[in-house]
Subunit: 548 residues, 2 copies
């Protein structure tokens, strides 16, 4: 099920998602839908010729480790994978890049680099997979010299306790390497964010990542058993424990700290026996209300599903167009809708289970029994197989659309069940009405994919037209982002379910923690990094930098 | 299943567990076993005439709320439920009591009390159920005036979101009140620590409590969705969210803070539909190794059990003597042991499930199938029914034994599966050999009752003889506690799985967090309570006060 052929080294694409040579082309139906919903394409933002500026590096102190000053390396490490990052890279408008890249091989080298930077006014940006979509790895904007700490050499399974199901990984280990190294021993981590092929263990932990099978395996927070962290004030070793009542859980303070409390140099993760079978069943439910009730009932009944995903009517329609549904699936949907006379209300639902075959069978049968009380109609296994096949490829669509003059981005949140419908409506409405141009409008799709006992995530995909120039296009994006963020905060929804705070969400963090909460956190950060060496603009700095 | 008749007001016992009129008498077999294992009883420490000292209160500032100075009230709030607390109360050797008791009715009154105490050198001890067994609610030892903040008036279900399964409780709400108020609406919290009848929501959150059905319902940390906290620096409102990636989880900083970061004035908890059925099956497994493997296999297979409990051979033997087994159960065990020729190795296991009847049936059948591969022999449902009936009554046994001249206490930890056997052996050995007197020895029982993916709790019960006087008896206990704590730390086990740090575990906290971890935490505490008003000797003060 997982693309496990990682033996050949692939090259990361500059100014776009993923690897060179990999693409995900939009279908004609999607382009027609886009034209109808947001208008004809704007100017294309092609990515086939990325200009690489030859920027002179600022002074760096003597680092007891090789520092790279290569221009492409520095440009690659200047920005993450947010839409404005990609737009700036494609248009050659990235004006600030790190002054050097350092690649430590172990935690002692990390310590040595931090020691060399102390008292020198240097900033360090820790770099895992570089997939942040919140500006979380972008070069800080200040005048100080910036060193990017690339952790790709600390990318191994360091230790495996097979009796306990505990695996120690270096922070630079990517998803495929995690799974390949565990598969040899019959284990899986079960953490499959959409960025799985690129993102790393350290990044997952630092940003509170959540994978597509979080219903079964939990979020990364549920997987972290122990941590080693190197901060400017010293090394923190948080021991590997299944549970403890020994004061506040300091692991939970490191998780989500996005580098501000230290650099994660090792993570001990809870792993599980590799499932023998994974099946995903697809259904159509009559409308979003029934769908939400159905998902909640599945969770409340304790059916041990690995995933449950519900698309809203808009996404259900588009799912066919972007190829999530098979060709035989599309008429089925349409037939169902006609039959019910609810043209635009049907919602696609995927429910998955994995483990031993008899458990998978019982689990999906239990789900079917509950779904039938919500008038769900089975669509069989094919949509689920297509989803499993393409689940890490959808992000490539963004660049294919930019090539044609449309822009797309995603954002996500989580809310209690009782606020789910209202939050969806308000965020969709905020996005649809955010753009100032008279004929400019955004189209929005939504799904839930991480249900919990008490609520669920909401994941929004929005589309708009590229503007006449780079700044104007980024300004459109910023208008959308600000409108959605305000709507989220006003709904009492979290500013992020699994993308982290980074730079772009930081203006809205206080709405969640309060001033005092931020100050409590800042006090801990101040103790660990009094000189603000590490990633100083993420998390706690509320400056609006959406248009940088 | 739960003792839900809480309409009549029962009176809390002074100098002993629970309520006046409630007892749990030891069987003759247990007394014989004790005599054989630790020697004949020491001097009885009777609790029927607790002397109430008439101590003049120190000066308190003007509090904008009624303050009680009643001697019994102050003595009751001087100490928690640790063994030395009870011994000191019974022997009239509690020399320091709070100077007054204040009973706020809402968070504004909590704020007003804190405001009145700021800048006055006053200490405040938040009081939930008063069931701490770690010195966590004991009057601080310094010269400052001490106000005990009794939260019994903030003891209600404040709000219930039935669509989300979210219940807001005041901090002083006890277990029975939680369940009674939820049962009216068809919900349960599912949090059943042994102290359930006495302990409170605020105490559970502040000490990271874990209930007997944690395998199914999770620890209190898994149940907390939102918190309101009042600190000397202001009010902290942490919003109700199912999950978030918005920075470190500040709820996880409050949980386990034992009052040091503020007083919990409201907790929003995740609740679930009340199960229609709870069944507990009993088994005997050939030995502890097979038992541990069996429990781990149950968890790894994802069987949705609500509980799994495995007694070591010693506890299995004693379980019969204290009445956990029924009269028909005892011969069965003995017969099984004889049959197998493994006189002392058999281990009793309980596995429980709850929910809809068909799910309970499937779950217990799934468990049976896995247990059979470990040569488990079924003992039917009777031991489980007895355990459910008595599960909140066992603590009363302590006072019944003190009345006769024996002392008993418990301690607990958690470790990865691979360290479980070694940790059990080392802690048992440390306890058995801790006492300095030539003929003094402790007897130790152990069970696991909170299994996790990557490890399990270990719960130890130990017995010893009362010494000739109060201080000597407490000194014996302190020797045992120090020996066990050192053993835990040396095994890499946590100093506490669910009892918290309080005062008595504080000397060993640094072994888990490291110096830097403690300083990071202290920085947050300093921001919230710069004058050290709240419970200043718990958690962060490493002074050994075991014999105070």
């Amino acid at each position: 099920m997982l693309p496990m052929k990682q033996s050949e080294k692939r090259t990361r694409r500059l100014g776009g998602w993923g690897f060179e040579g990999e693409d995900f082309e939009p279908s004609e139906q999607l382009l027609t839908w886009l034209t109808k919903r947001v208008g004809p394409a704007g100017p294309p933002l092609r990515g086939d010729k990325i200009p690489i500026p030859d920027l002179k590096p600022r002074a760096l102190p003597e680092i007891p480790l090789e520092v790279t000053f290569d221009s492409r390396d520095r440009l690659f490490h200047a920005r993450g994978q947010g839409l404005p990052d990609i737009i700036r890279l494609r248009t050659g408008t990235v004006n600030a890049v790190p002054d050097g890249i350092v690649r430590p091989s172990n935690s002692r080298e990390v310590e040595a680099v931090l020691a060399a930077c102390r008292g020198r006014g240097i900033r360090i940006v820790p770099w895992g997979g570089g997939t942040s979509v919140t500006g979380g790895v972008n070069r800080p904007s200040g005048d100080e010299s910036v060193l990017c700490m690339e952790l790709e050499r600390m990318a191994d399974l360091v230790d495996l306790d097979t009796a306990s199901g505990l695996a120690v990984f270096g922070p630079g280990t990517t998803g495929p390497k995690v799974e390949l190294s565990l598969a040899e021993h019959g284990f899986t981590l079960g953490h499959f964010p959409q960025s799985w092929e690129l993102a790393t263990v350290g990044g997952w932990v630092a940003t509170r990542s959540s994978g597509q099978e979080s219903l079964g395996y939990g979020r990364i927070e549920d997987m972290v058993a122990g941590l080693e962290v190197v901060s400017p004030s010293g090394r923190l070793h948080l021991p590997t424990l299944p549970a403890s009542a020994a004061g506040p859980d300091l692991r939970q303070l490191i998780m989500g700290s996005e580098g501000r409390l230290g650099i994660i140099t090792q993570a001990t993760l809870r792993v599980r026996p590799r499932p023998q079978l994974t099946n995903v069943d697809a259904y159509l439910v009559p409308n979003i209300n029934r769908g939400l009730d159905a998902v909640r009932d599945l969770v409340w009944a304790g059916i041990p599903l690995s995933m449950a995903r519900l698309s809203d009517p808009q996404e259900t329609t588009v799912a066919m167009a972007i190829g999530l549904g098979s060709s035989s699936f599309a008429p089925l949907v349409q037939g169902y809708l006609r039959l019910r006379g609810i043209r635009n209300d049907g919602c696609m639902m995927l429910v998955g289970a994995n483990g031993r075959p008899e458990i998978v069978g019982d689990t999906l049968a239990g789900a079917r029994s509950i779904l039938s009380t919500h008038r769900a109609v089975s669509l069989g296994r094919r949509p689920g197989r297509h989803w499993l096949r393409d689940r890490f490829r959808h992000p490539y669509l963004r660049e294919a659309l930019l090539d044609r003059g449309w822009a797309t981005d995603t954002l996500e949140t989580a809310v209690p069940w009782s606020k789910t419908l209202a939050t969806r409506e308000k965020v969709v409405s905020a996005l649809e009405n955010a753009l100032s141009g008279e004929n400019e409008r955004a189209a929005v799709l939504c799904h839930i994919s991480h249900p919990y006992i008490d609520g669920t995530s909401l994941y929004f995909t929005f589309f708009f037209r590229c503007a006449s120039d780079t700044d104007a296009t980024i300004s459109r994006w910023a208008q959308l982002k600000r409108a959605a963020s305000e709507a989220l905060v006003n709904c009492g929804a979290t500013i992020t379910h699994h993308h982290g705070i980074g730079v772009w969400h930081a203006p809205w963090l206080k709405a969640e923690t309060g001033e005092l909460g931020l100050e409590m956190l800042s006090a801990a950060v101040q103790r660990m990094d009094p000189e603000r060496i590490l990633n100083p603009e993420v998390l706690l700095d509320p400056t609006d930098r959406l248009e940088v």
